[in-house]
């Protein structure tokens, strides 16, 4: 770890239980109907978020599971149940998807709003995979608000290439493209938060 964790974060009282890999056999257990449809595709404002997941050899990974967690279009943090039994109307802010056999993933969601004025909107992404011994976190920033992106403390602390890797690309049809690279040349920036140990 190159940087110290936040200095004023209080120490943990209990030692955390370690994580382990999701393994190869989650496919019949964790995916569920409409898991990746945070909103219905027909809803105005619905956005496709998609990309590839690759390994250190640049090969597509067919056995990764991704989850996103995000505010709504107005930047509100949602606290509504119903993620596992989607009614097609309630936006819960959370979704899950297993990548397909070609290592590609898709979510149907909304563009997240800024949670505070002037903040750069982003989606939290968690990555699980066979071969990955613990989950990884990253942020998917929206590309539009360049002033907010320029002021973002995390992005400002990164070199240009790493910074670019955390900002999604807006495609011609309005989709957001965000590729995840677990290792190598284009390795995604993965995050550590205070109070993990």
């Amino acid at each position: 770890m190159t940087q110290a964790a936040h200095t004023s974060a209080p120490a943990l009282k209990l030692a955390p239980t370690p994580g382990q890999t999701i393994g190869p056999f989650y496919g019949y257990a964790l995916p569920y109907e409409k898991d990746n449809e945070l909103v219905n595709q027909a809803r105005p404002g619905s956005v496709r978020l998609h990309g590839n997941v690759t390994d250190g050899a640049g090969a597509l990974i067919p056995d990764a599971l991704l989850e996103i967690w995000q505010p709504d279009e107005e930047g509100n943090v949602v606290s509504k149940d119903g993620s596992l039994v989607r009614d097609g109307y309630t936006f819960t802010g959370w979704g899950r998807t297993a990548v397909d056999n070609a290592g590609h993933y898709t979510f149907t969601t909304l563009n997240p709003g800024a949670t505070e004025a002037g903040k750069a909107p982003f989606i939290m992404l968690t990555v699980f995979a066979r071969g990955l011994l613990n989950r990884l976190f990253t942020r998917i920033y929206l590309p539009e608000d360049t002033a907010a992106l320029a002021n973002d403390p995390l992005l400002s602390s990164l070199d240009a290439k790493s910074r670019a890797s955390m900002i999604a690309t807006r495609e011609a049809d309005g989709s957001l493209r965000f590729d995840v690279s677990l290792q190598g040349e284009d390795e995604t920036v993965f995050l550590a938060y205070p109070r993990e140990d």
Partner: protein, 277 residues
């Protein structure tokens, strides 16, 4: 030696084993693991902080070679969305989903067990009303998954998937069948210790985790690269349930206790800090 002949004979008879993937012996795998452990013990002795999580870069687990980040994780202070978690409730999970033995018409084969415990955060506070998901092999070590093709029977009365929402005090309880160890292709004659996969949410999404619960005294612990990827013995031991006779019920099921501690919530102290300014 005769044992070697016997084991290669076994693998020739097994339709699911890929000889290329199983070339490394358990002996050399165990030596690889031991070298890493010795290195860790030295760093502990030199005053380096004890590790609490698995290493992402752990070569004995071969699938990790190309799937671990090579850059350090980037430390960041959580922002708004990262200080909250999705909400789950009665709408999402039926109470019967925590009983994995009643999902079909008949009783599954195997040793009926209850696994019960609490989910706490790093401050010891119960994580209430949150989702827990579990999945596991059956009593023969076989998963209901098309990628598990090893020659052990499927149980038509056991799927091995359960869900629950934690109670007010973070408590949960699953009724299930004790899973068996199963072979995998990491190295020659590799077997996973019996385990149940657990998926957990906290009050902050940064506490999200997936892990595996093991059973006490499993003779496969020292041989398993996934379990041993947690280099610290005390930390590894946190994944092992305890046999608990108070959970065992008369003429029905034996009981195991397993409490899960998530990483620390950042919401309270960050709000307090903001209040100070």
């Amino acid at each position: 030696m005769s044992t070697e002949t016997a084991s290669s004979k076994t693998s020739n008879q097994s339709p699911s084993l890929d000889p290329a993937a199983t070339a490394v012996s358990q002996e050399s795998m165990s030596a690889e693991i031991s070298d890493i452990q010795v290195g860790y013990q030295k760093s502990l002795a030199a005053g380096v902080k004890a590790e609490t999580q698995p290493r992402l870069d752990f070569a004995p687990y071969r699938s990790s070679l190309l799937r671990h980040p090579t850059k350090n994780l980037h430390h960041v202070d959580p922002e708004t969305i990262e200080l909250y978690s999705p909400a789950f409730g009665e709408r999402d999970v039926h109470t019967l989903e925590s009983d994995l033995t009643i999902q079909h018409n008949g009783e599954p084969i195997g040793e009926r067990i209850v696994v019960a415990g609490r989910v706490l955060d790093g401050d010891g506070r119960p994580v209430a009303g949150q989702l827990i998901e579990v999945w596991q092999a059956n009593a023969a070590g076989r998963y209901i998954h098309k990628r598990d093709q090893h020659p052990a029977p499927i149980d038509p009365n056991f799927t091995g998937v359960g869900r629950a929402i934690t109670g007010k005090n973070g408590e949960y309880s699953f009724t299930t069948i004790k899973p068996a160890p199963y072979p995998w292709k990491n190295h020659h004659n590799a077997w996973r210790p019996a385990h149940i996969h657990f998926s957990l949410f906290g009050t902050d999404f940064t506490q999200r985790m997936i892990t595996q619960m093991y059973f006490p005294g499993d003779p496969l612990f020292s041989l398993d690269p996934i379990y041993q990827s947690i280099t610290d013995a005390e930390a590894r031991n946190r994944l092992v349930a305890t046999y608990d006779h108070s959970i065992t019920s008369h003429e029905w099921a034996t009981g195991y206790n397993w409490d899960i501690v998530l990483t620390g919530s950042n919401r309270t102290w960050m709000e307090d800090e903001e209040g100070d300014h």
